[in-house]
Structures are given as structure tokens and as C-alpha cells.
Symmetry: C2
Subunit: 280 residues, 2 copies
Amino acid sequence: MKIAVIGIGLIGGSIALKLRKKHFADYVFGVDFNEKHLEDAKSLGIIDEISSLENAVKNSELIIIAIPVDATREVLPSVLNLVDNHQTVMDVGSTKSGIVYAVKNHPKRNRFVPFHPMWGTEDSGPKSATAESFGGKAAVICNQNDSAEDALELAKEVAKNLDLHLLYMSAEDHDIHTAYISHISHITSYALANTVLEKEREEETIFQLASSGFSSTVRLAKSHPEMWVPIFKQNKENILDVLNEHISQLRKFKSALEKENYELLEELITNANRIRGILK
Amino acid sequence: MKIAVIGIGLIGGSIALKLRKKHFADYVFGVDFNEKHLEDAKSLGIIDEISSLENAVKNSELIIIAIPVDATREVLPSVLNLVDNHQTVMDVGSTKSGIVYAVKNHPKRNRFVPFHPMWGTEDSGPKSATAESFGGKAAVICNQNDSAEDALELAKEVAKNLDLHLLYMSAEDHDIHTAYISHISHITSYALANTVLEKEREEETIFQLASSGFSSTVRLAKSHPEMWVPIFKQNKENILDVLNEHISQLRKFKSALEKENYELLEELITNANRIRGILK
């Protein structure tokens, strides 16, 4: 199958590599506004052809949009303008309500399948892309009844070939859940990095001492603003809701420490330990 | 060398296994108040002999105390009471000022080397112990001038055999740095787990959706209160200081979102990205 990947970074590149490895894609058009990324993607064998958006879309059965969520909102209507009833468009965005809203009344809305694979790393660009990606993680398809049956079937095939198991929910529910499960983690990680950078002026000491625990908690703070500012912007209300709760949970720890209430501290920790049973 | 390990859990057990593998230890006495842990440690080949504290200390050249930091404060003076000038005692605690203070005027103070290997996992007990531990991480020796030269030399040998590189600092500095680099990570992780457990009542959804990012940020929330309440207690002032800063950093994200000040949001994230250069 010929596919177009719009945005040939970590996610778009990893999808291309994996679909190629599984012999699901046999020709990949790469579209990006970053010339360097396009050249890298070509020389790394991620794409077969550097292409204009129009040419890529016109000649592909499947079009995957893997760019920041604000840009997806802009580009998606133009892509749908170009497709016919035998082509399918998927995105990979971390927020869904705004994207779905942007094409709500588009005559080709049913060629679009809102898709979110719950995988990523703190790296970006085609050089970070890998065929060893996605495996065992979940992917969400939103508002499935608004997509044509054959488009949905193709999206399921894509998920299968990426070794993702599928969940179905509304775009609104998706954005609530991802605020809890993904977006807040990034904010706490960024804020933790800023805390340590603010308080710990001796950067050499951070580097020397950083335990595996710290590295793990702060890993997401390496993620780039180009991707995350638009996510926070589009999911503002849900994220603020979770962030308020998080600050209030931190205040409980603060209060327990200040009051030397170590029984409360133990309760708070024991409650948090329940995550062990949920995350295995 | 005959060694005594007091507290045969994740850390004590991993030290025993690794020192044994490196042929540094050829006989290991295991001391623990948890009978099950002792039996597990024996049958897993971590220790050679289940022993009383007194017998283990009397018959070992090196005594390693690997129990929670409050218990270390209690036990350390009794251990020093039992040793002569050819024996060395090390602890592995995540806080140091309180432990050092507890034996400040002990006549055998110079047989003790305050030691902190910056490695651990969210698991506990001898079944989690592994010889594949510590490698490449840092260890801190505190207040080195208060230890006898030969005791210090032996501690260096231990660090070398555990593949740890050594840093030297005062107990006070150690406790400030670990508040930044380790203790606050645990609090944010616990608070994040509690946030998600509070807001996300659908536990099945957490399980299904949890991205690798979330799992990584919340990993430390699996750590047990038996170990961490005493650490928070003994390092209360430093942790409160960092926790206040962390809450104020989170409030900046909150305010940027509330005011839709996306330039500030980008600045906050770009600043956090600096951690990439420091942690490689």
C-alpha cells in the first residue's frame, strides 16, 4: 500500500518504519516543512519520496498526519479537501476534541479516523524514529461512528500492524483521560526539572548524583515545547482540573510534613502504592 | 572476607549478591527481624548463615547496615559497641545528618563510614535483590575525616566492587542534595499517583491507557512507606524547602494556562529542557 506521512518525526517516522517492516506499506511519501528532517528520513530509508502535500495525498491510499495538534487542526481540512471515497486519513494527536471539531461539518469527515497511539519518547525527529515502537501499548479511536466503515477497518489494520490494542471512546472522554494519564505527567516532570534547576545551582552535582529514580521522574521534561504547548493549549480545561487536584495532593504531603503527622504521611504513601496493582 | 548484612532486603541483598559475585565476600551473615526475608535470602543463596546481630557483627570484618534510616539510627550505636579496631561498619541510608549525629560522640565513631549508594528500585525484599545492581551510579561517603583511614579504604574497595563511583561531602550537604535529586521525586510521584487515583475512578482505563510516560513518572509511587516515611521524617526541613519551590513551579504552569500565556508556557518548558543537557 502507498501511504503518505505528513510530519516525519519520531511518531510519523516510527509508524512508517514499522508499517514498512510489516510489509503493510510498500511506498511512503514524506511531507514536512523541515527540509533537514525530510533528507534524514530519506537517507534513513524511512520514506521513499520527498513530496509536496498535494502529490502525497493524491497518490496514497492512507494518509497519516503526525504533526503537533495545533498544526493538525489547520492541515486536516485541506487534506480532506483532496481525498476521495477510497482514501483514509488518520492523525496521531494527543488531544482530540479540537481536531474533531475542526472538521465537524466537512463533507469528507467520514474519511477521517481520529487516532491516538499511546506511545512516545522524550526524543523527536526522524533520527529518533524506530520500528521497535508502539508494541503492547494502547491506541484510541475516537467517535468511531463518524468514520466510514472501510476507513475504520483500515485504521484497525494499521493498529494491528503497529502491535497496538484498540480502545474506543468519544473525543471528549479521550481528552479527559489523557489529561490524567499523560498530560499531567509532563507538567509535573517539567516543574520538577525547573525546581531542581532553580534550587540546585551546582549542575555538576545533579549530573553526578542523579539516581535512576530522579532520571525516570524527570525524563519527560526533555520533551519539546513545539509538541507540548499546543497539547496543553487544546486540553486546557481538563489539564487545569487535574493540575489543581495535583497541587492539592502535594499540599497534603507538605502539611503532613509541617505538622509532623507521620501517620497521615504513611496513609498518603500507602494510598499511592495502590498504583502498583493497577500498573502491574 | 566475612561480611554481615543487617537488613537483607533489596539493597542489602543486592550488595551481598554483588560482593559475592566479585569474590569480595566469601561468607555472608544475614540479620533481619523478618524471618521470611531471612529464609528467602538463605534459599536464594544471598546469605550463608542466618544469624543474630551479635554473632554476625562479632565474626565479620565488614558490617553493612541496610535498614530504614530511623532503624539505622537505633541500631548503629549498638553495632559500634560490638566492634573492635579491625572492623568496619557502613550504612546505606538516604539521609545522613541524623545517622551521623546519633554516633557523634561514640568512642568507635571512626570505625563507621556513612555511605549512600544512589541506586534502588521501587521493589523491596530479598527476592528483588540482584547482582546486576549499582553499576555506573554514584555513591556518597560523608564526613570522611571522621572515619579511620583503613575503614575508609575498605569502603572504597566496596564501592569499587559494586561499580559505584565515589563522591565526598558533608552529611549536611548530602541531605540537601538528596532532597533535590531523590526525595522530591518520590513525593511528586506519590502525589501524582494519588491525583490520578482520585480523579480517574475508572481504574481499568488507567491500566489500559497508561502510556510509557505515565508509567515512568509514577514508578516511584510504588515505593513502600516503611522505607520512605523515615527518610521524609529525617530530612524534613530540606524536603519542605524543595517541596515549596516545586509547588510554586507548578503554580507557574497553572497561571500560564489560566491566563492563556502560551509564551510563558513555552519559556517554562524550554527552561525544563535544560535537564536534557545535564542528564545526557
